[in-house]
Subunit: 655 residues, 2 copies
Amino acid sequence: MPKVTFHPDEVTVEVERSVTLQAAAKAAGVELASICGGDGICGRCRLIIKNGNIDAAPTTLLNRHEVQRGYVLACQTKVLGDVEVEVPPETRAEEGQILIDIDAQRFRALYQEEKVSFRHEPLVQKLYLELTPPSLQDNLGDEQRLYREIRRRREIPIMQTGLKVLQALPKLARQHQWRVTATLGWRGGTVEILQIEGGDLSENNYGIAVDIGTSTVVAHLLDLKTGGMMDAEAMYNSQRAYGEEVTRRILYAERGGLEQLQKTVVNDVNNLITALVARNKIAQHDCWAVLCAGNTTMMHLLLGLGPASIRRDPYVSSSTAPPPVRAAEVGIQINPRGLLYCLPAIGGWVGGDVTAGILATGLYESDTTVMLIDVGTNGEIVIGHKDWMVACSASAGPAFEGSGVKCGMKASRGAIERVQIAADGHLIYKTVGNAKPKGICGSGLIDLVAGLFEAGLVDRSGRLLPEASPRIRTHDGLSEFVVVPAQRTGTGKEIVITQADIENLLRAKAAIYAGALILMKSLALDFDDIDRVFLAGGFGNYLDREKAITIGMIPDLPLEKTRFVGNTSVIGAKLTLLSQEALEKSYEIAKNVTYYDLISFPHYYEEFLAAKFLPHTEIERFPSVQERLNAQGVKALTPSPSPVLTDGRGGLKAG
Amino acid sequence: MPKVTFHPDEVTVEVERSVTLQAAAKAAGVELASICGGDGICGRCRLIIKNGNIDAAPTTLLNRHEVQRGYVLACQTKVLGDVEVEVPPETRAEEGQILIDIDAQRFRALYQEEKVSFRHEPLVQKLYLELTPPSLQDNLGDEQRLYREIRRRREIPIMQTGLKVLQALPKLARQHQWRVTATLGWRGGTVEILQIEGGDLSENNYGIAVDIGTSTVVAHLLDLKTGGMMDAEAMYNSQRAYGEEVTRRILYAERGGLEQLQKTVVNDVNNLITALVARNKIAQHDCWAVLCAGNTTMMHLLLGLGPASIRRDPYVSSSTAPPPVRAAEVGIQINPRGLLYCLPAIGGWVGGDVTAGILATGLYESDTTVMLIDVGTNGEIVIGHKDWMVACSASAGPAFEGSGVKCGMKASRGAIERVQIAADGHLIYKTVGNAKPKGICGSGLIDLVAGLFEAGLVDRSGRLLPEASPRIRTHDGLSEFVVVPAQRTGTGKEIVITQADIENLLRAKAAIYAGALILMKSLALDFDDIDRVFLAGGFGNYLDREKAITIGMIPDLPLEKTRFVGNTSVIGAKLTLLSQEALEKSYEIAKNVTYYDLISFPHYYEEFLAAKFLPHTEIERFPSVQERLNAQGVKALTPSPSPVLTDGRGGLKAG
């Protein structure tokens, strides 16, 4: 039997011929990173073949250079003889690491399917220029000579140059025979020459697109020259220590904590950048642009802008479209002269992350009516098409992000991301990375509640029915359902879902559904008028749309009209980082969307209460669910009187 | 007899009734500043009447507020009874102080005579804004609200805001009920919001126009709101310690001294600003703009740009039109967010000071052909009218600025500024401030050489003729002419002009004349085609145009065609500081002037040698001089063979 040796672990295992390296690693107890679980689409399980006989399937996830250096994907490589492999540091599975969407793929998919495409004109560009040397006949100053050549290549009405660049130019140009690389940064209608270097250094130009969520910060590294997606990294937003909800952080900022909050999120962004830079062996000073999308408050905290007025009538921000600034000015560690961009917000409670979503899904240029639901700690809903758009925000709370739920967690390794309750009452589940379960992430929670409902283990008000299953028990006076017993988890603690958890989830889904409904009503539209529903959010890699309909989170429309589009905030951030045209479009979008404040709709609270049932008080609004329940022989239980466990604010943001 | 008491000197003198306070001060031994010597036009001899009976002539040089506080001009005020006066610190005559032109007056004169007028739109403006408070219906972000209001008042396509300003805005606007003052700075096609303050603080907005000459730095303080000229101050350029000539300083910079040279001139500018700010009791942080005019090298040294390429074929600069930068970035001490502007240069050897001159004299829009001669350490000549302009630079050397001449000095107190040689051989002279003579300034030197020539004391080659006067003697083997014997000077040392001095002056005037001639020839023009000659420079308050013609420095045109226009560099600097329109015009001018490099004209050196005579080898080129000499019975002495004391470079700049 062939032997496989893993370095630097110095572990050797014997495996059957044709077994994958991933299986060999598992056998050897070497944990490898993986998001897709072996489908060959995430590109995380990279190994380096030192020597030996293997059969590696072709993949687009490794570039030519990497293949030449011996890189393979463990899950796509079969062992044919004795093999020695090296596990590079980036392939180590890390405990607690958040697994991000393969947005690069989704990104391409959107490009193709939705025809969202913009000119490739990154916000920071490096131009290699061969200047004509001066002569008595052509005695333009060095700066003007540089400008002339740039303008031959790009149409730039207003150019700006800092003194440092100007001071460096004369010597540099002459030392390099008038061959220089100019780094040009787009600054809202003007272009700044950020740097001049000698020779052709236009290759190395990187940017980072960041989605700063209330709970999670996701960063994607892009090659600005080619537009290629290089890598991604995510982590929890460390500001959570100052409050899970947006309003708590605004209060903290108002009480003198603004600087602390800014430092905290800047530190998160820096940590992500450091990881990306190190892993991809690029120089930090070759990173020239950071583009952030996030809700309005997150952008304020990033820039150190006081967010106090966002939570007070009339809920205005310091700036809906903050200008590009030098990244170093807020402490972000890229090239000291590199730029930081923030996507423009629509209003105080509908931020640049939603603008990004509208851009990424192509909603703004759709001929038919589209609904975009972006589920995060707040749920934002946009309805519209190319002629009009309206948006609102509903405070869902962080339940779908795995917070405020007893065994909830982010979509990281060991999180239960899919659940099915089998006919015999047994649970079938899948975890992220196929690891031992540690908790349940957003998509798993949706599956679980839908499953409990379809299996008749909860009634329509979400109440657990103890008589229906031995897994339902009472603990500290509260009902709970045992999802995974202690002996089968990765933590040694059992995984449960409590009555309070279910209430939280119902509140969250009700806030979103009611928001969508109010928006529809105010437009005198019916759900049937909606041609497509885009469901966006950082749930993980997967979301069962049917289950989302089952619990009444999204309207009951044919599945083919509904699509899970992943983290559109970071997708939009990438689009704009790679295209001035896209960024300009985002400004236009942000201006053109009408912002509805749910607080000014008196019926919102009523609708919210009505939506707190499974799938809804009026089940006829969800005919497909009704049909399925009937087919499965589950009687649509009459709701027991609402326990009204809400906080009395009806999911509205704190005013 | 009335008594006059001077405070804080505590000196009392008795004077005749109707005597001026100036005369009383003189009698009391109290030295007062004065440029005009008692003509009531310089406004420097300001005193404060504490009590007593006086008769003060009306003057425009004191404003209403000052008159109310008791200010008078000493030379325009007669004593009618016992008087107590206070001598304010600014009125003290200082040793070594450079006396500047009353450019404010010349400035007005130009405005009226030449119709050089631009819209009043200072480069930095303060706008008081009353913003509409936000509401649910009008929920624009704070920044966008501010922009909207500014755009209601000003047409600004592109606005930029720094993070600091943005961070301050929300709190400030709310604390001051949305009434704020925005400081707007023009930055080449865009406008930056430099500062936001609460309430109406639009009153206090000052700027400084600076002429950075190779030898002298002159600063004028302006009220940017009203456009009023407030005060002026001048000093030697301390860079002189690193070389009198431009080329020497370029060499020093090339050898690692750039930073030192920058610090030196920045320190000079700061000293001038400090003096102006202190004397006018304004706050340094209310100074928002500094606009500098100077030759190309001076601007490079100010900005820390390497000037090496200026002195090498093809003589190009790092930047002919440096962008506005934050003044603090080069160390200039105004408001830390205030801006520094430099006037655009025409070429490596024709700088922004000449652009300023073209602007200030209105040459660029003249219907008739104008020649502008700007005499400094380099002499620049511009010929043209509204359809075309050409310019060149001739290295005159600093002789006319009083350097490189044994007893030469700047036009400061005690400098002989006018000289006449009487029929009996006695000298009549006038010093700046009517003080005891200490040396001779540019205008005095021109008078002196012209006088020596007309009196037959030098021949046409400039050689002193010992037999012609007992004042001519030999010292260390070199002839010299005694101007003032030791016992009558302010220093106890005699004042002389040496043969070498005369050679230096002839070289300087020849360089200028030859430059003008070459320019004319290359245009196929004759001097008769010139309709006006503007003679500019920091000679002092006075220049005898006839004497300048006598020595052959400027072409022999009718006096009414010739005008001394003073320091047009600082006048142009003021015009542009007060008007974006003027600054934009200066960019246009700098681009439109064709730069002729004298080095590329093989006949320049010949013309230079021919011009080294008095007034010229071909005296028929100066018919008015010939006529005057004939009338005075001075025979036009045949030149002796040229002693050729030149340095062999023919006054060309060092290549």
